[in-house]
Symmetry: C2
Subunit: 314 residues, 2 copies
């Protein structure tokens, strides 16, 4: 079997352009962060790392970066707490793992991977998920580790406006209207696909709310026979149309190309029920789709050893 040319793509959320504060310095910070993170995952893939490991590393770095709503820098719930969700899926054997509603695990994406590696269950929630992760030796942090002043201000604004805000401001995409999720999809040298997604959810969300991110088939999916997909957007709508899985379903059942399938989901199925956002997807042939129905999506990709490309707006 010949080697495949590895492909990596990452996203840091989708949303509307922040016309109030077009700030080239802020924009440059986002481009730089996306570039560094996608480059790290690209280097791993070129050295033969699995798509699963590369996606886990990319999402770990996105979780650590306070610019993005996942891990450190996550948004607050309506009770001023954090509830983080993450998922991973391996395309060669459909193994998957996810955690929901955790607040003491430094890297939720690694907890999702541990659930997958353990194999007994796919999705663990809350304290049960944390107990499992700590048994497996994952790094514990105080919930305040995830808090930033920026996110606290965002919660206060959301409360004043009596609404659920979708994510961060001063940044290129309006943080109060952004869907804050991070994710990665990859094709490795060995021809296998994987996907990983992580989020802090929506600012001012109801405690206990679980969005699409940790739900296999909704916000995250990977199948070597179809595509690896990571979504970001109005999570409830992604759940109701099984958005991530539907890419693979359209490719396998209807013979659609990756691009056709991604456009059908993002430009037709989602808007039909009022959903907005986007997704990144890669298939085994190395086709890539970075598709969104919002004004922008923080995104980056790299193919083989080529220079990574980063983008924010259309």
């Amino acid at each position: 079997m010949t080697d495949h040319i590895p492909v990596i793509a990452i996203h840091g959320g989708a949303g509307t352009i922040n016309r109030a504060s077009l700030d080239t310095a802020a924009e440059a910070r986002y481009h730089a962060a996306l570039h560094d993170i996608v480059s790290a995952a690209q280097a791993m893939l070129l050295q033969g790392a699995s798509a699963l490991d590369a996606c886990g590393k990319a999402v770990e770095l996105l979780e650590d970066c306070p610019l993005f709503n996942a891990g450190h820098g996550a948004v607050f719930t309506d009770q001023e707490t954090h509830e983080l969700d993450a998922a991973v899926m391996n395309g060669s054997d459909l193994r998957a793992g996810a955690v929901a509603g955790v607040s003491r695990i430094r890297h939720p994406v690694h907890a999702a991977r541990a659930v997958m590696d353990d194999g007994a269950h796919v999705l663990l929630g809350g304290a049960g998920a944390e107990a499992f992760a700590f048994q497996r030796g994952l790094e514990a942090v105080d919930p305040s580790f995830f808090s930033t002043d920026f996110r606290r201000q965002q919660l206060l604004r959301a409360r004043e406006q009596h609404r659920v805000a979708l994510d961060h401001d001063g940044s290129p995409l309006a943080e109060d209207k952004k869907f804050g999720t991070v994710g990665a999809v990859a094709l490795d040298l060995h021809g296998h696909l994987a996907a990983a997604t992580s989020t802090g959810g929506m600012t001012n969300k109801r405690v206990g709310r679980i969005g699409d991110t940790p739900l296999i088939g909704a916000g995250t999916y990977a199948d070597d026979r179809g595509a690896a997909v990571s979504c970001t957007g109005s999570g409830e709508m992604f759940i109701r149309i099984a958005a991530a899985y539907d890419i693979t379903a359209r490719m396998r059942h209807a013979g659609q190309s990756l691009q056709q399938a991604a456009e059908a989901v993002v430009m037709e199925s989602l808007p039909a029920i009022g959903g907005s956002g986007g997704l990144i997807a890669v298939d085994r042939a190395g086709n890539l789709s970075l598709c969104f129905n919002t004004e922008g999506m923080y995104r980056a990709h790299a193919r083989g050893g080529e220079l990574p490309q980063t983008a924010i707006f259309r």
Copy 2:
């Protein structure tokens, strides 16, 4: 528009035949319970009730019946607690609601319906889900309300055998090997579909484990353009193949019939990853599939005003 002939189907879990204790009196109790519950939902549908309401009522009655692993009579986790999950979905507009890991709401299926009716979120977990349900006036119970001696014995047996047991014994399907979930799917007079599912999960399961039941697209799905589906089985495998949604995907994307789609999922996709169990499904033409790859599935259905039919084995 002409009226549709209403159809209702329910299930009470799937599993292997209990050869150790073929007990005709126990068998008769299951047939009687299934008959009474499907008849109650059938009567509602004939009077013009929505598929959504009929499914909610059927699952409420299944939750109240201690023979089945949902609501009163739910199994125990490895911490000797109960964690109940439920979901509902409405086929005409793809609205959905679900709760996961609740232990103080008498009827989890009604909490799922309340989440759907509220509309802000699709899935709420744990204490957040309970707080929401009680704000909406749902009946609260002490967690001990769900406990039965029978289930406690089952947990002790599972612990002795160091394994996760799938559900209850003395009953027609071996309770220690049964997938205990209950569910309903319906087509109403108005031509709309709905599905509802509820479960106590697996005996001796890890605290925090969320199975396929409350995951829209995995254990529960309804789309008037495809089918209403409620699953029961090794939940993790149903999650990994987006089992419930895949019925609709195969019908819409590949032009398969309901029966073809159900058999592909239950007899091919599931066994391919070691999954076992079954599902009930109905489409808008009134086609019905009660499909399982185990030795038996507690099930019943009724079409129009015809006498309901109940069955346990193949």
